[in-house]
Symmetry: C2
Subunit: 347 residues, 2 copies
């Protein structure tokens, strides 16, 4: 049982489980950019990807196959290799007293696992018992706008439609989108291998497993995870998740009904002062957030905040966020930063 929720106050031994994927690569980039205190970086993968060379901060690191002993001496593990892999290794990670920041959905709804968007519920991090879950990408982006607005008036109901990029299904899905689009343009359309349908000039409802209520898992994640992050257990939310032919940024059309009327300007002021948000709204030139605006950016972009013509207590807004970055890797690193004692000593 760990005594302190914090990471040791020294350069850390950090392991990345699933370092060759889109999120893993972004993690490496962000850990470097933000100068995360690392003395030893261990890259772990399946036996298939082991042996791959990665350059990080001028050093060559060879990816190793993950085994039970891989976590010996490790302080912190970032896992982004899927739920099954996280579940497989969680006991080894715990045994070696490393903290796991898990990007999969495996532990998100577990009672003693904080589910954290650092701009929204940073205080939840320190209650961890060795595992902290990184929320689903669409949920992170949504929580960043729901949280500040909920401070003005309680949110009664949210209806959201997503426009999700191929990156949500990983690097191979991004590569497939480019390949299938090229073939389509050459007059030689081909079938998809990675995603269930071709995304070349096409779109489809999210391909996560369907539940009996005819919502898919991705949509249920938005509902359940938003409730946990925002600490609104009965939040009413309905989502339609759609994959669109975009490479790495998600967009969301969000309708939010409040207990009381919120004026548009009040909401805009609040969003503008909120962390993690860049406000993009130029009505005269009809310029609002686009996926291209947030590519490789930390902040999500929000705009087109307007009073819902169908309900005086509701607002409509539009947001875009980089799925790989704020939707996954950046959020995980920001969680880790909360665990650095020095960040708390400074306060």
């Amino acid at each position: 049982m760990r005594k302190s929720p914090f990471l040791p106050n020294k350069p850390l031994t950090v392991a990345i489980l699933g370092s060759s994927g889109a999120v893993g690569c972004e993690l490496l980039k962000i850990l470097d950019e933000r100068n995360f205190p690392i003395s030893n970086l261990i890259l772990l993968s399946s036996s298939r990807s082991a042996g791959k060379k990665v350059f990080w901060k001028g050093n060559e690191i060879i990816t190793k196959e993950v085994v039970a002993n891989s976590f010996s001496g490790v302080d912190l593990v970032f896992a982004s290799a899927g739920g099954a892999i996280s579940k497989k290794w969680v006991e080894s990670i715990k045994k070696h007293n490393a903290i796991l920041i898990d990007n999969s959905s495996a532990f998100r709804m577990s009672e003693h696992v904080p589910l954290v968007v650092p701009e929204v519920n940073p205080e939840a991090v320190l209650g961890h018992q060795g595992i902290i879950a990184n929320p689903n990408c669409t949920t992170i982006l949504l929580a960043l706008v729901l949280s500040p607005l909920n401070c003005i008036s309680n949110i009664k109901r949210v209806i959201v439609s997503t426009y999700q990029s191929a990156s949500g299904a990983g690097q191979l899905a991004m590569d497939e989108l480019k390949f299938l689009t090229k073939k389509y343009l050459e007059g030689d359309p081909q079938k998809s291998q990675i995603l269930p349908h071709s995304l070349a000039f096409n779109l489809f409802l999210h391909n996560s497993p369907m539940l009996e209520n005819k919502y898919c898992e991705e949509e249920m994640k938005m509902i359940n995870e938003s409730r946990k992050i925002l600490n609104i257990p009965n939040l009413k939310l309905s989502a339609t998740c759609v994959r669109v032919p975009i490479l790495r940024s998600h967009s969301e059309a969000v309708n939010i009904e409040f207990e009381n009327k919120i004026y548009t300007n009040e909401a805009i002021d609040k969003l503008k002062e909120s962390r993690g948000i860049t406000f993009i709204e130029d009505i005269n030139s009809n310029r609002f957030p686009m996926p291209e605006d947030v590519k490789e950016k930390d902040n999500i972009a929000v705009g087109r905040v307007r009073e819902d013509l169908s309900n005086p207590n509701a607002l409509e807004l539009w947001l875009c966020g980089d799925q790989i970055r704020k939707g996954a890797a950046l959020n995980a690193v920001q969680i880790a930063e909360i665990l650095l004692q020095k960040n708390h000593d400074l306060k």
Copy 2:
């Protein structure tokens, strides 16, 4: 003043104003396919496009520049050259006692102009005074599902997010999407010329002019036209219209709140028996409508009808429809078919 609302009971002289655009080309195809009774087809255009040769039913037709006298002897005009052109020639068309079926937004909200989706309000057609308006593409698709469901229980509120193809901005926008995507894939991304932003692996909120309420014209069309077509003057509707990198089919995520609870199966049964709708819903294989399903198809595709988890009196559903076909050209020809006396004699 015309005495009968019907077209003369004989092969007709038909003029197409704006025959070289995407909708114009589709009109030619559909008039042929449906064997619309035409003895003389006149293709009219701006002076720039005049002289173009078009083959139709084995005959070569040369596009003529539209002038005041162009409508002499014409029984029926299909106009799809934009609102300004329709307004410019409407008096000449009326003077020659031709009936105008107008695809622009110029007359849609005018009091004495029927706005018609033939599966929804065919009876409105015969009240025309020389002009009948073809609704906006997104509205046509939406009205096809709202109308039958409103028969089960009154619709209280609709929230819709659209996924609109480049075709809504015309053939040049479709060509641009293909060109810019090709350049993007070649590592040479270029700026858009036709649409305000590149749609290559990008999307953006609909570029129609913004109103003071921060809804764009496209969204207000959905609100106002739906009210007129469905004859629900106070229908509460909010729309977020988005252009996505799709070539010719629109999709819509629709949330519908009813006065009373409608069970999912009841709604599905109603939609399945409704004209103009193909129901696509295979839950086991996670297969629902996609833009590719409706390409060049008459029917829209509807599926994923489910009880909204955030409101027991609301349903969520998903639809796709060919923007050029049912969203424009086919709907116009179906309106014209109502005006054929023989179709009424047969009843």
